[in-house]
Each structure stands twice: as C-alpha cells, then as structure tokens.
Symmetry: D2
Amino acid sequence: MINAMIVTIQCKDQVGLVAAISGLLARENINIVSMREFVDTEDKRFFARIELQSTPDSSALTRMLAQVLPEGSGIEVRPQTRKRLVVLVTKEHHCLSDLLIRHHFKNAPFEIAAVIGNYDVLRDITGRFGVPYVQVSHEGRTKEEFEAELTRELAKHRFDYVVLAKFMRILSDPFVAPLEGRVINIHHSFLPAFIGAHPYKQAYERGVKLIGATAHFVTHVLDEGPIITQQSIPVDHSQSVHDMIRAGREIETSVLAQAVRQVCEDRVFIHKNRTIVFA
Amino acid sequence: MINAMIVTIQCKDQVGLVAAISGLLARENINIVSMREFVDTEDKRFFARIELQSTPDSSALTRMLAQVLPEGSGIEVRPQTRKRLVVLVTKEHHCLSDLLIRHHFKNAPFEIAAVIGNYDVLRDITGRFGVPYVQVSHEGRTKEEFEAELTRELAKHRFDYVVLAKFMRILSDPFVAPLEGRVINIHHSFLPAFIGAHPYKQAYERGVKLIGATAHFVTHVLDEGPIITQQSIPVDHSQSVHDMIRAGREIETSVLAQAVRQVCEDRVFIHKNRTIVFA
Amino acid sequence: MINAMIVTIQCKDQVGLVAAISGLLARENINIVSMREFVDTEDKRFFARIELQSTPDSSALTRMLAQVLPEGSGIEVRPQTRKRLVVLVTKEHHCLSDLLIRHHFKNAPFEIAAVIGNYDVLRDITGRFGVPYVQVSHEGRTKEEFEAELTRELAKHRFDYVVLAKFMRILSDPFVAPLEGRVINIHHSFLPAFIGAHPYKQAYERGVKLIGATAHFVTHVLDEGPIITQQSIPVDHSQSVHDMIRAGREIETSVLAQAVRQVCEDRVFIHKNRTIVFA
Amino acid sequence: MINAMIVTIQCKDQVGLVAAISGLLARENINIVSMREFVDTEDKRFFARIELQSTPDSSALTRMLAQVLPEGSGIEVRPQTRKRLVVLVTKEHHCLSDLLIRHHFKNAPFEIAAVIGNYDVLRDITGRFGVPYVQVSHEGRTKEEFEAELTRELAKHRFDYVVLAKFMRILSDPFVAPLEGRVINIHHSFLPAFIGAHPYKQAYERGVKLIGATAHFVTHVLDEGPIITQQSIPVDHSQSVHDMIRAGREIETSVLAQAVRQVCEDRVFIHKNRTIVFA
C-alpha cells in the first residue's frame, strides 16, 4: 500500500471528466492501480480517488490536472505515507489502546505523534509504547483557558488529524474552526439517535434492540458533523446499561479504527454535511 | 409448534418464584418443553414464558398458579393457536404481500382475518389470497369520522392484533387507547432516529451510513411505543433517497414479519415503554 | 432505472482502457450516469459496467467500442429492460412466492415467463399471479428423459435466465452446458461448507454458530459454480434442525432475490470460477 | 460481575430438575441473579448455569445439589474469579495484543499467566505489559521434542485454559488429550469451510462473498473441535488475498476475545462435538 501515489479530486461535474483525467494519465504513461469516482448528481459535484503505480512529480501532475479540470477544482497529489495523529483522551482506554497497538506494529496508515489527556490516567499505557503523553487539565479553568492550552500543545506537533478517542469535553467553535475537516470523533451511539450525554442510558431507557457507534468529523454543532462510519449490534431486554456500555466499547473501538484508517488512506471526501467514502 | 400450551407470567419479583412455578408443574406432572424467565432487577418485576408439552385444563392451571404467585400477577395459560390479525394498509404492498404469503401457506403463527386500506390499490393482491378487503377512505372526512369507521370495521372481526403494514395515517389517542398493546406498527427508520415523516429523506440528508426499520407497539405518542424488533443495513454515499427506500423495504418486510411472529408466539411482554422478548 | 442503456465490457487489461472508453463516449456526447471498472491484476482482465443516460444506437456503439478495445473483447450494449426468467421449483414455496410478488408488482428488473415444477404443489400459488405453470415430473423416468422434457419445456419460452428456486433435483452436465452462465441456483448453506444434501442437518451436527445461504451460477460440478451472493445469520444451541430450516428460509429468500436482481441489472460478470459484482 | 458465585450443572434430563434446583436454593435462602437452562431433547441432557447473589459454602452446596440431581451429574460451584490463561503464539500479534490489553486493564474475566511463542518476535509486546514470555522453538526438533518442552513449560504455570492466539503449529493428540476442553483455538475461516492451511487463499480462489473466523475447543482432529463462536464479514471481488487477510484479522481478534470471555465466565458447556453457550 505504501510507496504509491494518491490523487484526490473534488470539482464541479461536467461531461468528459473521466476521459480528461484518464487521458492525461495515459498520455503521461502513468499506470492507474485503481480509480474510483462519484458524481453527486443533485449538486453536480465530481469526486475521484486514483491510486497510481508510479510516483510522478506531484506538483507537475497537479498543474497538468488543473489544466484539464474545471476552475476551482480541489486537486491533491500525495505520496501514500503514514498520516500523523494527535489523539485526545479522557479516562477510557479502549479506543486509545487499539490505536496505540496499530501504531506500534506499523500496520495502519498512521502514526501517533502525541496523546493529550485531560486526566493523567492514560499516561501509563501511552508510555508503554513510547508515545509522548501530555496532560492538559480542564479543572479550575474556563473553557477558553483549557482550549487555549490545548491549542498551544497541538501547535508543538506536526499532525494531519486530531482524533478524539473518547475525549469527553465538548469543544467550542473557535477551537474547532481552524481544524475543520481534520478532527475525527467517536460518538457512542447510532447518530442521530441519542445525541449528547449518556447515550447508552438513553438507549436503555428507550428500549432499543440495536445500539451503535458513529465516527464523524467534528464541526461547530455537537454530534452533527459529517458521518464517516457507523456500525450497530443487537441488544435485548436482558442487558443493563452497564452491559450495553461494555458491548458498545467493542464497536466504538472498531468503528473509530475503521474511520481513521479510511481518512488516513485519503478515501474520505467531505461535501456539505455528508461524506463520500471510497471504501 | 402448534398443539402445545403457553404460560406467560408477569408479576412482582420475589425469592422462590421459579421454584414455586416449576414445583407446581412438577407436582401436577406437567412436562416443561422450555422455560424462559427474566427479572427486571431495577423495577423488581418477574417475567416468564413456559411452553408445556401437555395441555392441561387452562383455567384450573391459572387458578393453581395464582395461588403460588404474588397477588395481582398477570397469568395467561393458552393453547398455542394461530393468532388472528387485521392488517391496515395504505398503498405500499411489500409488508402486506409478505404477510399474505405467510398466511396463505400457514407456516406462521397467525392468520389474517381482514385487510383494511385507506385506498383501494391493495384490494387486488389481498383478493388473490381470498382474504376480505375493505376500503375505509380518509378523504373528505375528519380524522374522527375516519377513525369511527375504522373502529366499526374492526368491530366486525374477531382479532388478536392489529398490524399497521405501512399504514400512513397517524392514529389518534382515543382510537389507539382501547387497543393498547395490540397494535403493531412498522416504522421505516431506526427509532428514535428520524421520527415522523420521510425518514429515508432525513437519513439521506444527515448522511448516515446505516439505515434501519423498527417494529413497535403503538401508543398515544407518535413512534414512541415499546420497540419489539429493529434491524439495520449499511448504506453509502452512492445511494440516493430512492435507493434507500428500495433497500429499506427489504428490512421493513423482514422486521415486521419477525415482530409479528414473536408477538403471535406470546414471546413479547410489555413493561413500561420497553419490551421483554424471549426470542 | 428502466429506460437507460447499459454497456458491459470484459477484455484483456492494458494501459489507457478507461481513457479510451470514456474518451469515445465524450466525443460521441454520450453522458455517463455511472461507470464501474475493475482490473483483475493477477489475470490482467478488465471489467466495466457503464450506465448511459441517453440511448444511442446499440450496434453502432458496440462497433465503435470494438475499435478502441483489445481484440476479442466481450462488449454488450443493451437497453435496461426487464429480463425474462423461467423458474424451476420442487415443493418449497418461499423463494418462488417472493419472486412472484416482485414480478407481479413490477418493481424488480425481471418478469417470470413460466414456472416449471417437478411436483404439482406450487401450481396454485403460481396461478394466482397469472403465470403459466408446467409440471415436469421426474417420477418413473430416467434422468435423461426428465431433462429432455425440461429442455423441451424451456424451448417453448423466450428467457434470459433459469432460476432454480429450491429445485431439488441435481441437473446433469449435458443439460446445464448449453445454459452455462444463465442458470442461477440457491443453495441452503454457506458454500463451500455443507455441499450436497441436508446442509442444515450437517450444520446442526457440526454445531456451527452461523448458518448461511449462497446464490451461485450452476456449472457441471455440484454446488461449485461461481458465487454471486452470500449471507449468514447467527444460530445457537437452542435451535433444532427444524428451527434452522425455518430461519434459513428467510435468508435463502433474501439471497436469491438479491442475486437475481444483480444479474438482471447486468451487474455480474463471470471470470473463471469467480464473479465480479458491481453492487 | 466479580464477587458472585456461579453454579454449572450438566446431567441426564428428567422431570422436575428446575423445581429441584430452584427449590433447594429457595429453602437455603440463596438468591438467584440469573438462571439459564437448556435441555437437549434428543440426547436427554440438561444444562444449567446459575448466578448466585450470595456466596454460600461451595462444597456444602455441591453436596446438597448432588442429593437432588441424578447420579453422575456434573456440578460445579465456583466463585466468579478471573480465570488464568497461558497464551500460545507464533508471529502474528493481533489476537495476543488484544488479550494483553484486556488483561492489563482488568476489565475481562481472565488474566494472562504467561505467553509461550515458537518464535521470539512477540516477546517485546508481551514484556511491555509485564507478562512472562517464553520461547519454545520448534526448529531442529521433532514434534515430540517440541511438545514435550511445551508441556514442561505449561507445567510451570497454574492455568485454567490454554489459548492458541494464532499459534500456527498443529498439536498432536497426545499433547492435547490431557488438556481436552481447556484449549481454545482461533481458526481464520468460517468452519467447516476451509479447514487447514491458507484459508483466505482458499476463500479467495473459491470466490466467496463472506469470510469468517471460528473460535473452537481443540480436539485430536484438526479444526474439528466444538465451536464456541463464529462471525463473518462480507467481501467482494475487489479484495485480494492480502486484503482478506487484513480484514480477517479484525474478526479473528473479535471472535477470539468473545469466546475467551464466554468460556472464562463459565457460559460454555461441551456436549459431544457441540457447545451450549449461555451468552
């Protein structure tokens, strides 16, 4: 997977786009490993992800593509390298542990630059994998002060994405805005059901027969950002809230891992409040 | 499956209930095929479903059980016979067709006494299976008049349950109240997500990655009754609202069939706004 | 869905195929609704399915495509019309009933030209939908005689595919060979597990925790043809063989319906013993 | 979960067993948190798992139960404590890592006494969690010598179960026999499909549309022991053997974790070649 090049394109749709792109690549003798495209016919938007076998000069190729594509097209040509993550956590370990294991064995398309926690409880597990851990406490501070320190900490790291791996503080609009499209959250329900706090308790009380988890990009509206991945599992009357929380952890872990992988492999496009995922 | 007896019990929990029930049955030399019990420890409620091999006198057994169970216990002893359904429909055929096929081949624990539609479009398919069809139009009438005629029509039939098989009219509290616990609806979303009209359109616009269907008992609050069964299926960006509707029909059909079967086999208990389902 | 045109291409892979195809369509001013392609890199085979908005002259387009594609390419340009099926059955009704309902309401990409049964039990349900039913009994005949009559009956109908909807006779190589790639079977197990007779009994005895169903093309080797669709559902120790059979019917019905839809929408390519399915 | 008592019973079925058991517990004033029972009607075997709130004297209770149950009954009364595991591995880390994380955070019903690997590659990850790692190489030895050393190593530890977490050596009958019912393996296919080596390659070549994983007890016949848990996930033509291996790892991890949890919570009974799992 590593060692190829990925081209992603998002632009206004028009007749002949696939011909223009594939014709250019054929003329330049660049071999396509795989090409996925999608047209949002309602909004007349075109999305494509192309995996190239060779590794041409990326700025040259970007320029050539710009010439055959509509003005204002979003074009990215990138070598397929591991993305860098900063992971934000609170006290629950399951999502973080899973990401650390994947990081450690280098069989995922990312590496973890640092972990920031508002408590200190996950310093130990992070340290076992040689990843830097910083505590930024929210206690005795205003949200502004807390987020200002988070921002300062983030600024110390080179990263592509921020992953909220069961980070239980709500982030304000001014904090999120400069990172829009780069912050991935795991929510422990099947959104849009059970927005907000204690979704398993809400699910138990509503008597649902399925529970779920949702990975989504964070925007300024709580739990309303573009959804990347969702999974659900059956539950029944015999499961207490506690049982649901335990069962839910398994899919939270799985959903977040899948979403982070897809984003880091440049498979996910954001358009308005929805995602296009070339799975 | 037919030809046995089913005992269902719902009562206050106390120590020794299983011993009391199973002791009584052993003394009476009644063989248990299967016994399922559940205690809601929070509310201290006990629920049991017992399948008996023999068919004792049901009122005698009810009396004997009442003597060993707490006062006010809900006890039902019934031969396992097909339940009788009245099915209410509008224009969509998929749930009705499925129920008619199961009725026709007698391999489900129910038979359909009649179908009532607020249009005439499903008269033909119903007639092909020799089941009576009555049109009760809502047009040019108040909701009161419409529901009064529905009630008159229902009164002509002996039935155990009313099944809303994509019946697209909202029923009022006075209509539903006398039937509480006996009206089963299929809602075309994963409740509590997308309550109300056009759930697939809502799902599409929210950009979810799973859609679902929910079978539930109808109460006076729209789409808020006790849930019996839910299923979900994955969707992606390439699916239009129309595609989701088409895919959704398959799980609506499946979920409603499963819920109706479970209810008709006396596997479903209602407690507050939740169900206990001995699947 | 109906009223567009579908192009399917299967050929040797080479650089520039997508450019050649999409360039041709752009030059001819033919709008692509969707295009899916796949390269089997091991075998260097290229597969594509293209949905066109307009309906150009199909033989002219086939000729033009042949000029830009490698020699020996399989090219089909077809209006998206309902395919015609002949359905073969024995005694079990569930798959047939489902197909008849879909046929009747014309919301599937097929129509049923005729049903042939080796018993008479499914004549009644078939007749209720106005579809011709022919009994071809296997009793008191050699397999050659039986299949000869089947062949004569099939010859009376114009059909695209033969669907074995729980047809419980094994068909011989000479019968199947002339129909290769056009006969779809539903096998009541998760192939290649439990090949042959009584798969649910085999599954029960092996103590599996999942059962499944498989729709596949029929070839001369029993249950070994290219797989189109598979689904599985969980089972547990409490389910008897009879319970598994009942639960299995639901997925058999669902899997066969899905496979027939995909084949009839020209989404399925056969390559060696595998299928490419543009779902 | 911890701090209660678990009673498991396996015996010949007869009328009145539930009454006898629950009557005894009621007389002794022992509160039942949950009781699950199952009768294999074909073999006339009775299985029960009872969770007690209080912690009576376990040998006294065992004696009393023996008096009311048929002769030869298997009765176990155990405090619900963490089981001790020895984990055998080869080179793949994913199942081991997952078990180590669960061990480390003590939120699973087991602890890992030691890890034994036939290579040295997983020593590092094991050591990061403070768990002893021993290498027992198979190289340059006969199977007898290899297994003799394994047996010597196992003898150094107090353990309840041996978990083969992607241990890629086939164990001989003499090695397994004394441990029968105590060795859990994860097989990377949906058994009984693709027994033996390279199941993903077999699955790819057969062109299946689902892949799976199976956790089972090890007996003397390769991959034929009683199945505890199975899961499957969809695959399609676009996935190479390598992609299937990667996707399969996720369910292997999940299936093994689930099976080990169920076994360690005394939810799994073995009867002939099948399991009863009170999930």
